[in-house]
């Protein structure tokens, strides 16, 4: 793990550590470009990004990254089949209008896809709902229900069922809690955050 990778958010560092050197990568929802920059500088990847917020795009352009302002729900359709070795969707799936279609697009554009999302079945979330009957406001889900961008909450179990239904292959999966890797068993209860490496 390099210096830049250690400065990344833990889920991004984990993804960066598993992308093959020199790969062609599309980072969907790339934010300020931290992961894209690490992939380019540390792993010699050919990285493209998509980001919805113009201020973030400007920051990416300043880093010399190729990032287009776009919306995962709408603009993935314009990339050719198999254009990338990896398509990355980090902490963005739950914000899309149609996560199922976005997933299909990711696996059409990329030979493999990294998808990470906050797990709505983490015990803290369950506790909040069970004891207080309230939508949870947690470290990874810090925004109240009425203004959260997270419009399609999902759990690890939901996601596993979804990929099984769609015949999507799980090449690997990782689970984080408190920024540390956790075991795969009872991940749906213990993981704050899940990362999947998928392929067709």
């Amino acid at each position: 793990v390099t210096e830049v990778e250690t400065q990344l958010r833990p889920d991004l560092a984990l993804i960066a550590g598993h992308v093959a050197k020199g790969a062609r990568v599309l980072d969907v929802g790339c934010g300020d470009g931290a992961l894209a920059q690490a992939l380019r500088d540390d792993r010699g990847c050919n990285v493209h990004g998509m980001e919805i917020d113009p201020a973030n795009v400007a920051e990416c352009v300043e880093k010399g990254l190729s990032v287009i302002q776009g919306d995962a729900d709408r603009d993935l359709a314009f990339y050719p089949d198999g254009a990338f070795d990896y398509a990355i969707l980090s902490q963005t799936l739950q914000t899309t209008m149609r996560p199922d279609r976005v997933m299909e697009e990711l696996l059409r554009i990329g030979r493999r896809a990294f998808v990470s999302f906050p797990n709505f079945a983490h015990w803290r979330v369950r506790t909040s709902l069970f004891w207080h009957g309230r939508m949870p406001v947690t470290r990874l889900l810090p925004v109240a229900w009425y203004e959260t961008p997270n419009i399609h909450h999902l759990t690890v179990a939901d996601f596993r069922a979804f990929v099984a239904e769609r015949g999507i292959k799980v090449e690997d999966d990782w689970y984080l809690a408190g920024d540390r890797l956790r075991g795969k068993s009872v991940a749906n209860f213990r993981a704050e955050h899940a990362i999947f490496l998928l392929s067709r």
């Binding site: 050919n46 493209h48 113009p54 201020a55 795009v57 400007a58 990416c60 352009v61 300043e62 880093k63 010399g64 990254l65 190729s66 990032v67 287009i68 302002q69 776009g70 603009d75 314009f78 990339y79 050719p80 254009a83």
Partner: protein
């Protein structure tokens, strides 16, 4: 192509009265082939240069101007005395930094600011007028490539253009794909849409309906189609602005009067403003040049040039691209930029795209938009 450098004194004055720019002018030794199949003899290309070319000649940024722009990107206009049209963008320490880059801005073919156009003398010594061949955006770029050849420039650190300047940048990237390393286009399109063709036709018809146009042979007659050209400019000027900016600047306020006159004077400030824009334009621009340059724009369709598929225009390109649009630009709306970006993606070209928020409509690319400065500087920085 080989060219000869003309000394300022050997320049033949243009047939139009006062429109001569104090710039470097090169005359092409060879005829310039045109898309129409015709060719032009003795083509002159006027240009301004800023900064210092590095010994390796690897710091050249080509800035291409818009419809009625000129080579005075960062130096005062020779007629109006106003600062250069992109003075805020080009200069020492500015986003296109002349301390670092050698910035070259040529006047387009067909113009009236020193490059050959319909007001220039034809081989018979009389002004071309409507004998000037119809040119295309690619022809404009062809003349610039000839200029680069003479200056010994065979790679461009960057090519930058807004509006019609962006069309030139795209044409250069598509047709001379080995030249540019970075291509930055602002408020632009790869295919001139019907609405824009329509607006420009209104402008041309206004000029041609003016009896003083005289079939284009007005040079030396003491008359010029100023009324028609002013109307063309007024109509075009509206398309460069936004409803919000017009409302904020003028609203329904009256011009130096307490009430409406129940006549056809410029009662409203916005009318007065437009009349002023139209009238002052005739003092610095040649009507025939306006016809030819807008014609070139309406012919611009980069997809058509490349078998109907825009992505094909960029398959050989090695450049990085940056595409910028503005949310209030209804003349070249963001959708046009998106189409371009999708084509660049399909061609596998590295491309950045951002729609910036600015209140000034199409003219935003010329005005105070700090976010634009930041993206331009950032894109050119590495």
């Amino acid at each position: 192509l080989t060219l000869a450098v003309l000394s300022p004194t050997s320049r033949t004055a243009m047939a139009t009265a006062a429109i001569i720019a104090a710039s470097e002018v090169l005359e092409l030794a060879d005829p310039l082939p045109l898309d129409s199949g015709q060719q032009l003899e003795g083509v002159r290309v006027a240009y301004e240069a800023y900064g210092t070319m590095s010994p390796a000649r690897d710091n050249v940024v080509l800035v291409q101007h818009a419809t009625t722009g000129d080579q005075h990107v960062a130096s005062p206009h020779p007629i109006t005395g106003k600062p250069g049209w992109w003075d805020r963008m080009v200069g020492p320490g500015k986003p296109i930094d002349t301390d670092r880059f050698y910035v070259l801005c040529p006047n387009v073919l067909g113009s009236c600011m020193g490059s050959t156009g319909p007001g220039s003398p034809a081989p018979d010594g009389k002004p071309y007028g409507m004998r000037f061949p119809v040119i295309t955006v690619r022809d404009m770029v062809r003349a610039q490539i000839a200029l680069l050849d003479v200056l010994g420039i065979d790679r461009l650190y960057g090519v930058v253009g807004g509006s019609m300047g962006g069309m030139q940048s795209l044409s250069l990237a598509a047709n001379w794909p080995h030249l540019p390393e970075r291509v930055l286009v602002v408020a632009c399109t790869a295919t001139m849409p019907a609405q824009n063709i329509a607006f420009q036709e209104v402008g041309r018809q206004a000029i041609m309906a003016d009896p003083d146009w005289q079939g284009g042979d007005y040079y030396g007659t003491g008359k010029a189609p100023d009324a028609g050209l002013a109307v063309a400019r007024m109509a075009a000027h509206i398309t460069y602005l936004s409803e919000a900016s017009l409302t904020e600047k003028f609203g329904r306020r009256l011009q130096d009067r307490a009430s409406k006159t129940f006549g056809f004077d410029a009662d409203f400030q916005v009318e007065s403003y437009l009349r002023h824009q139209g009238a002052s334009f005739t003092g610095r621009f040649d009507a025939n040049s306006y016809l030819y340059i807008t014609r070139a724009m309406s012919y611009f369709d980069l997809a058509e040039e490349h078998g109907g598929l825009l992505a094909n225009a960029f398959t050989d390109s090695a450049a990085r691209f940056c595409v910028i649009s503005f949310d209030t630009d209804w003349l070249y709306p963001t959708e046009q930029s998106r189409r371009l970006v999708h084509a660049l993606n399909a061609a596998g070209a590295p491309v950045s795209f951002v729609e910036l928020s600015a209140p000034f409509g199409h003219d935003s690319f010329l005005l105070d938009v700090p976010a634009l400065d930041r993206v331009v500087a950032g894109f050119l920085s590495r």
